[in-house]
Each structure stands twice: as C-alpha cells, then as structure tokens.
Symmetry: C2
Subunit: 188 residues, 2 copies
Amino acid sequence: MLVQAARQLLHEQGFGRTTLADVAERSGVPLGNVYYYFKTKEAIAEAVICAREAELRGLFAAWTSKHRDPRARLRCLVRAPLETADEVVSFGCPYGSLCHELEKLGPKSPLAASSSRLLGLYIEFAEQQLRAAGVRTREATGLATELIAALQGTALLAHTIRSRALLASQLRRVERWLESELPPTSLS
Amino acid sequence: MLVQAARQLLHEQGFGRTTLADVAERSGVPLGNVYYYFKTKEAIAEAVICAREAELRGLFAAWTSKHRDPRARLRCLVRAPLETADEVVSFGCPYGSLCHELEKLGPKSPLAASSSRLLGLYIEFAEQQLRAAGVRTREATGLATELIAALQGTALLAHTIRSRALLASQLRRVERWLESELPPTSLS
DNA sequence: GTCTATAAATTGATAGAC
DNA sequence: GTCTATCAATTTATAGAC
C-alpha cells in the first residue's frame, strides 16, 4: 500500500529526504502511479499523519479495553516504546519526529497543524487516565504534559545516543516517577 | 558572518530546507562566495555544530563562574530556555532540533555524530553538577539523562503547541521535580 | 487504472572574469 | 578574495500511450 510505504519512509528518512520515487519503489509501483492517488507530496504526508492518528487511537482503544485500571493503562503508555524499541532507537519516536520536522514548515503549514494533533492526542489520553486515577482536574493537564514531554525527550535521547539500554532504563525511571505522582490507591 | 547566518537558518528552517542561496542572501554575499569558504553544504553544517558547541560551553562556563553552588547552576540550566523563549517556542531547542534532523541522515553520517555530541555535552554538564550536589555517581548519570530528556521534551511540546505559557509552567515543574530529587542541603 | 517519458523547477556545485 | 554566469543532478509534477 502506498500510504504504508510512505509511513515507513517518513519515519526512517523524514519527509524532506523522502522522494516520491522512494515511495513508488517501496510500494512496487511506477512513479507515475503515485500521482494518480495523491495530487501532491504534501497530500501523501497528510495521509500518513491520518494513518498515524488512527494508529494512536487504536493503541489507546486497545489499552482502554484491556485494562479497567487507569494506572495500568498509563503503564502501557509508558512502556509502549519498548514494544518497538528497535525502531525508536534507530529512527526516534514516529510521532515526535514527524512533529519536529513538519513544524519547521512554518506555523501556517497545514502539515504542521495536522502533525501537532498527534502530540495533542497523546496528551489528551494521558490526561484522561490521570483524572480517572484520581489526579485533580487542574493538576492533570500539567502532569500529562510533563509525562508526554518525558517520553518524547527519552525517545530523542535514546535515538541520538542509539542505545536501547538507555531507552529501557529511562522508561523505568519515568514509570517510577509517575507512580510517585499518582495519589495512593484506594484499597477498597 | 557566514556561519552566523547559517546557524540562524538551520534553527529556523532546518538543514534540509535551507539552501545555500538562503545563507548567501542573509549574509549579504553572492552565492559563489559561500563556496570559497566552505567546500560543501555539509561543511557549513559542521561549522554550525561547532559554533553551537562553543555556545554551549560558553553557557556552562558562565553558569559555573557565576555560581559556586551546583544547585544554582542546575537552576540556570533548567531556566535557560526561558531566556530565549521566543526562539524556543517558534523553532524548538536549537540543539535538540539539530540532532533530530541530522540523525535522520543515518548513523554513518559525520553530521549525525557531531550533532549528537551536543546533547552529550548537555548530559555531561548536568551529571557533573548533580554529583557536586551530592548525588551518588551511579545515580547521577541516570538522573542527568532524565533531566535533559525532560528539558528536550518540554521544548518539543512548547514548540509544537506554540505556547510560551506551556514552556514556562513546564520548566517550573521540572525545577520542582529536580529539587525533590536532590539530597537535602547540608546546612553547614 | 497503469505505465513511460518528459517537462519544469529547484539547488548543490563549478568555471572563470575581475 | 569577490562576483556572475552556468552546469549538472535531483525531484516534483504532468502528458499521453496503452
């Protein structure tokens, strides 16, 4: 699938360094075909962002249905980068690196706005689970932002240093920190 | 100065989207001149990285000479993004965004290796100050990494959301967290 | 819908006058 | 050392046969 190939390539090489010829080649179709399905290169990026958004919503839904306890859902969130550790170490967080690059297109670029929604979704999910775990509404926004910032920073460092060990150990630190920030469990 | 212009442009637009014509124009010199001073575009990027490294070392030296107390130095580190809040909100952390983009050139790229040194320096400085503040050697590395990750993640989110308020409030949170992680001051 | 060929624009890099 | 003109390669995008 065209979008699937583009999704991988944008993660591996970034938007700027990925040519439409790359996308065509990895999809196994000739270059001309790409333009039959997508008017411009930006349109492909937009489709990739949508795919990433669907991917995120899928993860959130899976964690939500798997665990009733919001703390367990938050643990899934923190540990998620370990599930794809190789990719994160080699290419960074797919959502964060997309934002990082597309934001450089300027505040007026539609791609920048679309990609920032990805991190927004991330924060929103964390905030919901924090509130469900008993964090006060006022505090939940700040804490959720702090959590996502910690995860994004961890991914950037693990990627830059290219160390899976760093990713694992720092995610454990984030997990311990988060537990210390949550209100004590009500032992009903 | 050529490098100065390139330094700004790489921060504002990134390496990939900055053309040598851009650099020439902002420097006020014709395009041909750029190639008299730098053999290739990569050579300019290398010079920019060196300039950023010197900039970092200068900041560290200033904080070190200004404060004897390592805690005060760490406060400077955490609050530093506020000094250039507009730039951080508009374009992200100059060091982090450079790493983010140049790492996509692949692990074998000399530019990727050079840029990763920037974050390495950052961690190293934090680690030194943490040890001086009484954090055990074993713990200092992990804590320093966690601190820099928090700062980098904060810069990314503040940039993506384009919110100076988010930058300020989240840096305050990082500062409070850091204080809670440091051993109690010895009231000598 | 699929594919080849090619146009049009951008941009890294060079040649050569001054 | 400085500047203009231009080459060569890449890449987005289109035209048109099948």
